[in-house]
Symmetry: C2
Subunit: 328 residues, 2 copies
């Protein structure tokens, strides 16, 4: 069987709130927000060396770059009053502060590693619980600003790369099947459009009346099922299209290596093709490098790399230059 | 100034006939044709070691492959009764036998080298004249089957690569200007269509009442003028289109290196772009290799290389494979 690059990454998010403080949207003054930050620093720095970024101190490009990397939400990026982020050096652990909930602990791992991600997030959770009193109900579990997160406060998700299910139009039936199991699948770049990266996030929808283990097991098991379908769909594509598919995917790599102008949208298409080619043994390319390029070349991230503001066209030229240098 | 690859090759053709034999289309029997071949072998092998190919002994693919390489005419390839070719090992000298005229001596040189090509052809001409009596009139000069070749029997031509004049739609005014000077320009692959290789042949139209030196001088001088216009048009294109042009040309090379299916037509377009890119210092690629690929990948030549008959699609796949192997 070909290399499976279907499960791109695994992510755990825990929503937590302080017992003796109103929810974020009910804060009375800046002192409430500062208390959250101060408790977070005290608790989490026991576990890891985190950097603290206050949204009010970060310029817009930097904040959008963090959104592009899925390290913070758009909502946190926009909260330049009291939003903050604690980020580990390798960016695998990120805690959003004063977002919808006081604390949104997140752990992200490459590949299929939900248990490992959960273990990391759990360590931070323990540290937090030993530092401050958390909003917790014996009946409901953890209390959160939005009822959908009450209970475990846990969202377990995997990022899935599904080019073949997308190309064969099977993705909608996958989405329906997954919803019946209390999970949800959504496109990362604009809901499941073919051209756009073929990246999907599978996650649990329910966090109440169910244990952490049950949530993890259900996401893991559905992820494996979808992975199997995707791999079958890839073989089907290859059998059906053969050389024509090879030609299309291989040319994408040729273009990626030689272009002088590259839009975000075209890059996503080419990256999708190259990653599919790698998994089908059509191309021998370092997929980690391709993923890195894909992340770095998003509009705000490439602007940070360039170190100067650019118009759209200049950014497309800069993006192409960056890709050429990385690949040649 | 950028590297000039405008004048691709230089070619001399001398039309000669035996005095004591009817013109080819008036041959009485095979003996006439055999006499031409026998005299040719006697005369030309004094100068060079030639291989003799009789059209009746060569299969169709081999004959078409010679046409594709511009070594013989379509007419000679079709003359499987008595047509023959004498070819030097490096393919720079070729004599068609029993074509429209008994002898069509041709010398082909890479680049701008009409004088050298003429010197080579002239040696064969001397050898021929010292071996047999040629049809010659003191009034008209050499006598030929078609009146247009009477006189010197000389056609001097250069192959011109004119992508920028083609792209800027200036080629038609070049053609008109050239015609006023008694020369002619025609597209090599289908009269001047943009997509098709941008290769043109410039040659003299008149060979009567004019000396060999005058013909050579006039073709050389017009070739240099057209070269200058082409180089100016390239700079204009680059100044006008800048990065967009770079992007298009560079991507062409990426596609050439990675495709799994490649038609003749697409290859010609990509080769045109890559050669233009080399001349504008956008790409650092061995242009000789590109030209070699371009020649080898024509339908009959690639079939000879594959060593088996193929349908169109198989040939497109074989062509792409051959290109990938040559370039990677």
């Amino acid at each position: 069987m070909e290399t499976s690059n279907v499960i791109v990454s695994s992510r755990i998010r825990l929503a937590r709130n302080l017992k003796n403080l109103p929810f974020t949207h009910k804060f009375k003054d800046a002192k409430d927000a500062d208390e959250v930050i101060s408790i977070a620093e005290k608790a989490f720095n026991k576990i890891n060396a985190f950097s603290l970024y206050k949204m009010k101190d970060a310029d817009e490009i930097k904040r959008i770059a963090l959104v592009e990397k899925h390290l913070i939400s758009k909502e946190l990026a926009a909260n330049t009053v009291n939003g903050a982020l604690m980020l580990s050096a390798d960016e695998s652990t990120a805690v959003m502060l004063n977002e919808e909930d006081h604390f949104r602990i997140q752990s992200i791992k490459r590949g299929f590693a939900l248990d490992e991600a959960y273990a990391d997030a759990h360590k931070l959770d323990i540290a937090l619980a030993s530092t401050a009193m958390l909003a917790y109900s014996d009946t409901y579990g953890y209390l959160t600003a939005c009822p959908s997160n009450v209970g475990t406060g846990l969202r377990a998700s995997v990022m899935l790369f599904l080019p073949a299910l997308t190309a064969t139009n099977s993705i909608s039936s996958v989405i329906v099947a997954v919803q019946k199991m209390g999970l949800t699948v959504r496109g990362i770049f604009g809901e499941g459009s073919k051209a756009d990266g073929c990246m999907y996030q599978l996650s649990n929808q329910i966090s109440l009346g169910i244990t952490e283990e049950e949530i993890l097991e259900s996401v893991k098991s559905v992820a494996k099922t979808i992975e199997k379908s995707e791999l079958e769909a890839r073989q089907l594509l290859l059998n059906r299209q053969g050389v024509a598919l090879k030609d299309k995917l291989s040319r994408s790599y040729g273009i990626l290596k030689t272009a002088y102008v590259m839009s975000s949208k075209e890059l996503r298409e080419l990256v999708t093709n190259v990653k599919l080619a790698v998994s089908l043994n059509i191309l021998d390319v370092d997929e980690k490098l391709i993923d890195e390029i894909s992340t770095d070349c998003q509009p705000a991230n490439i602007t940070l790399i360039a170190g100067r503001n650019m118009n759209d066209y200049e950014r497309d030229v800069m993006r192409a230059k960056y890709i050429r240098e990385k690949l040649n």
